[in-house]
Assembly symmetry: C2
Homo-oligomer: 242 residues x 2
């Protein structure tokens, strides 16, 4: 059992996905590299992956602000890809290639500790993603990577991208729990601070390789109020006594 009474009370653990559960950068480099080699494209794929991810928050912000109505993340990924291809002189890329590359986000590999940790956590807690990724993306990813989710939670279910409060509060609501019975896990402090503002418990998992080898993990500050900091999902399972 977890030593901390607040963690003992946790009945469900929900996870940010991109960067927290899976290595989005490595996956995009792998998939882009394979397609680019087949097509003879000259692209710096690590830089391309970073630029694609760099459009992630701005593209969601246009939905959050109400500038445009809800669209799932697959649509935002595709729009950002089209812009990036044009900037790279690949504006003539075929429709089928664009569609296939967009689906690379469905085929990302988990960090090595993710599945072992989730399998342990699942024995005593409900586990689910709580991602801005759309449901179809998260289902495809889980089937391919063997992520043993009990259910799939997504911003798409409430049509509000994190950090909107409704996205976080959908987890306790749909699981018939109180917010402090739900632990949000992410590699990103901003995600956790927003979750905490909704009453959820929070755990930061350090992912120093999210933006490539030799990078630095985000760290919690003293005022962030994060309940737990770990280096892997296995360490998280230990901390929860799972």
């Amino acid at each position: 059992m977890a030593a901390d009474p607040a963690l003992r009370a946790v009945r469900a653990v929900v996870f940010d996905v991109f960067g927290t559960v899976v290595d989005w950068r490595g996956g995009i480099v792998r998939e882009g590299g394979a397609l680019g080699a087949a097509r003879g494209w000259e692209v710096d794929w690590p830089a391309f992956a970073d630029a694609w991810r760099g459009r992630y928050q701005p593209s969601m912000e246009r939905v959050r602000s109400g500038e445009r109505p809800w669209v799932p993340l697959d649509v935002l990924h595709r729009e950002s890809l089209d812009e990036l291809l044009a900037e790279h002189g690949l504006g003539g890329a075929a429709e089928a290639d664009r569609a296939a590359l967009t689906l690379a986000w469905h085929r990302l590999d988990p960090w090595p500790d993710a599945v072992p940790g989730l399998l342990r956590l699942r024995r005593s807690r409900v586990i689910a993603p709580l991602s801005n990724g759309n449901v179809a993306l998260l289902v495809d990813m889980a089937r391919r990577a063997g992520l043993p989710w009990d259910l799939v939670l997504s911003a798409e279910l409430v049509e509000r991208y994190k950090p909107h409060r409704e996205a976080y509060l959908s987890a306790p609501r749909l699981l018939a729990l109180e917010p402090p019975q739900v632990l949000m896990v992410a590699a990103h402090v901003g995600d956790l601070v927003a979750a905490r503002g909704c009453g959820l418990r929070t755990a930061l998992v350090r992912r120093p390789d999210e933006w490539g080898p030799g990078g630095r993990a985000e760290e919690a500050g003293p005022d962030d109020g994060i309940d737990l900091v770990v280096d892997s999902f296995v360490e998280l399972a230990d901390a929860l006594g799972a």
Copy 2:
């Protein structure tokens, strides 16, 4: 592979749950019987189970009609239970007993073919419940019974009870599929006729024991347009070439 081209195109299989995947009557009799014996209640539990289930459609109809706002099925089950206990002279039953008995619907056993069939289907199709049961109920049930869902779909996600069209259409929408790529499986013809009206494919599974041993399964009529009739989920997996 499935012989029928329409079935070959099916990418996801979604299931009605009560009576189709699990034996609600046997579960309520088991759980009610155990609690009643401990409390010394004199109750005919098979009749009690039937009466409780008998209030299911009328209780949802008050939500569907707009007479009352959305409430999850756990709330409707509890209200119906309170009425039934009063009718049985058990109006003094303790709050904890009422809460525990309501959760009996989270602890129903699958029909014997359900898990073997789902494990086969899951290899080539996305599988999910598509139930009027609320998410927490479906998650608890799946964890206890080992139902290997890829995700949990529920009327609660759209706050519209079946046979509302939004409940059925949530499946292709969230899975990024066209309606004919989704197969709805149920033991109840009405559920399937409504799903077909939304463009989904349909399979009737005969469950003659739903209302007790020696009962009769619902049968498809010539005008119902049901694509497939089977006697088990294993037979369904055979038909889909899964």
